[in-house]
Amino acid sequence: MPRAVKGVLVECDPSIKAIILKIDEDHHHAFIVEDLDEDHLVVKEAKLAELKERLEKILEKTQMMEKDDDSDPDQPG
């Protein structure tokens, strides 16, 4: 008889997954229920919000969002 586990399926690209794996490792595997394949994994429902928050923090640090040039290109000067 198969077993059913409650959780949240997270779809993401492999780079994001690597970060999630890292977060999980740093926190004694508190997030991931099952690692499915290179772009899918199942995490604990209660931990999803925290995971997102951590992920966002890391992304903010690692990813340099190119500064939006707010100057108007059509405007001379």
Partner: protein, 462 residues
């Protein structure tokens, strides 16, 4: 619901069964829930069951629906289950007896439940017209929105309203006694269409009311009853329950009902009330509700539109309304302000800032479309497609993952078992992901699969 953490009408779906049972005791509430909360297919299922005395087997009901539409079918049945409208037994599906009785009563009329409001037929001393009610509702509701963006109008909303906005985290106070300021949620709230805004407030009120020891079902009955009242008609207060009379004062502050004096023996529902249970797809479109609610400059003889968007992402808005400017400022980088015009640009940065606040690209696009300048409306496609596409792309750019709640099925004994379940889940439209090698799959809902497995196991033993 879209829009970050604001709970809308769909929040009601999560009420406990006992609350629903109590709600169904009123024909007006049964009707309102039927009308507002069910998809059309589910409504057809309800009417099919309504005058059938015997339960109908699930398979027979499902046979009525085309196999291609399994997604809609699944959606309809899950809504009906979640709202506890249908009861499932071994011999088939039937309607919840309380719902059945009262929904029939709503359709046929009769009984003595007075759930559709008792009209006041004695003439009022002062004539209250629909136009007056519209104006009143608009003024009241607008003052709330204005208050949120911090423009100081001559009318400040009541303390109860401000309290509610703070509790709902639409606004927050830094310290005691300081001026409340708008939060991210509040901004996203501003961009929602009128009906969702009102419901968001009412749901907030519902929670708040519970803290004040008001009966939750009583409060809900009253909300849903308001939706079935007639605009321009006076209703008697004397048949309302005590809770509902208390609520009346608060509803007056939102502009949902009008009462001339607190001691008056009658109240008038405004358009905000009577459209509570109409669906957004109704004749009164979202944009109109929005215009009523935000009071897009009526004095403007050009009509309601004032925003021009150019293909080079520049935005010109002919307005001097602080509310409109504040809303635009959520996703446009405004640079210049003239007495009757503000201009600025939509940029990647400005859009992504907005998305971080929980505003969606669709909300932005629909806002721009609804408020497009008449000059823009002459085009076949109102907004420049490049801008629309780019706004969507900017949204997708930031989205690095997608989360779906559900259940992981694993440890299948044989490949055959796995294949069968996967196929069944696929047919139900609940399968999100599967892997043959790992023999596991992810589904969004498990009840039916579990049942199916049980049935299969029982069949296998025999």
């Amino acid at each position: 619901m879209s829009g970050g953490n604001i709970r809308g009408f769909s929040y009601l779906e999560n009420l406990p069964p006992i609350t629903f049972r109590r709600l169904y005791q009123q024909p007006a509430t049964s009707l309102a829930i039927f009308r507002r909360m069910l998809p059309n297919l589910a409504k057809v299922i309800v009417t099919t069951l309504l005058y059938n005395d015997k339960p109908i087997p699930l398979a027979d009901l499902e046979a009525l629906i085309r196999p291609e539409s399994h997604r809609q079918r699944e959606d309809a049945f899950s809504k009906l289950r979640r709202l506890h409208i249908i009861a499932e037994a071994a011999d088939g599906i039937s309607l919840d007896p309380v719902f059945k009785k009262n929904f029939r009563l709503a359709l046929t009329g009769g009984g003595s439940h007075h759930s559709f409001g008792v009209p006041c037929n004695t003439p009022d001393k002062k004539n209250v017209t629909v136009a007056f009610l519209d104006e009143y509702a608009q003024k009241k509701f607008e003052s709330i929105l204005h208050f949120m963006v911090g423009t100081h109008n001559d009318t400040k909303p009541g303390d109860g309203v401000i309290e509610l906005l703070c509790i709902g985290k639409l606004m927050e106070r830094q310290g005691k006694g300081t001026q409340a300021t708008i939060t991210k949620n509040g901004f996203s709230f501003l961009l929602q269409e009128g009906n969702s805004q009102i419901w968001a407030l009412l749901i907030q009120y519902l929670d708040y009311a519970e803290d004040l020891k008001m009966e939750k079902t009583d409060v809900l009955h009253f909300f849903l009853m308001l939706g079935s009242l007639e605009l321009g008609q006076a209703y008697a207060i004397k048949t309302l329950t005590l809770t509902q009379r208390t609520m009346l004062t608060d509803m007056r502050d939102y502009g949902i009902v009008y009462q001339r004096k607190a001691s008056s023996d009658r109240f008038y529902p405004t358009r905000l009330a009577t459209t509570l249970t109409s669906e957004s797809g109704g004749l009164r479109s979202a944009s109109q509700t929005m215009d009523v609610a935000t009071g897009a400059d009526k004095a403007d003889d050009e009509g309601k539109g004032f925003v021009i968007v150019e293909t080079n992402y520049r935005v010109y808005a002919y307005t001097n309304s602080p509310l409109q400017i504040a809303v635009l400022n959520l996703f446009v980088r405004l640079t210049t302000r003239f007495p009757n015009l503000v201009s600025g640009r939509i940029s990647r940065h400005s859009i992504q800032e907005a998305i971080k606040m929980g505003i969606t690209a669709d909300q932005i696009i629909s806002y721009l479309t609804v408020h497009a300048h008449p000059q823009m409306r002459k085009n076949l496609v109102i907004l420049p497609p490049t801008v629309v596409d780019q706004i969507r792309l900017w949204q997708i750019e930031g989205e690095r993952m997608k989360a779906t709640q559900g259940f992981l099925f694993k440890d299948f004994t044989t490949a055959q078992d796995f294949e069968d379940v996967a196929r069944y889940a696929g047919e139900l439209g609940v399968l999100k992901w599967k892997s043959v090698q790992k023999r596991c799959m992810f589904v969004t809902r498990h009840e039916q699969i579990a049942e199916w497995l049980k049935r299969r196991a029982a069949g296998g033993k025999r």
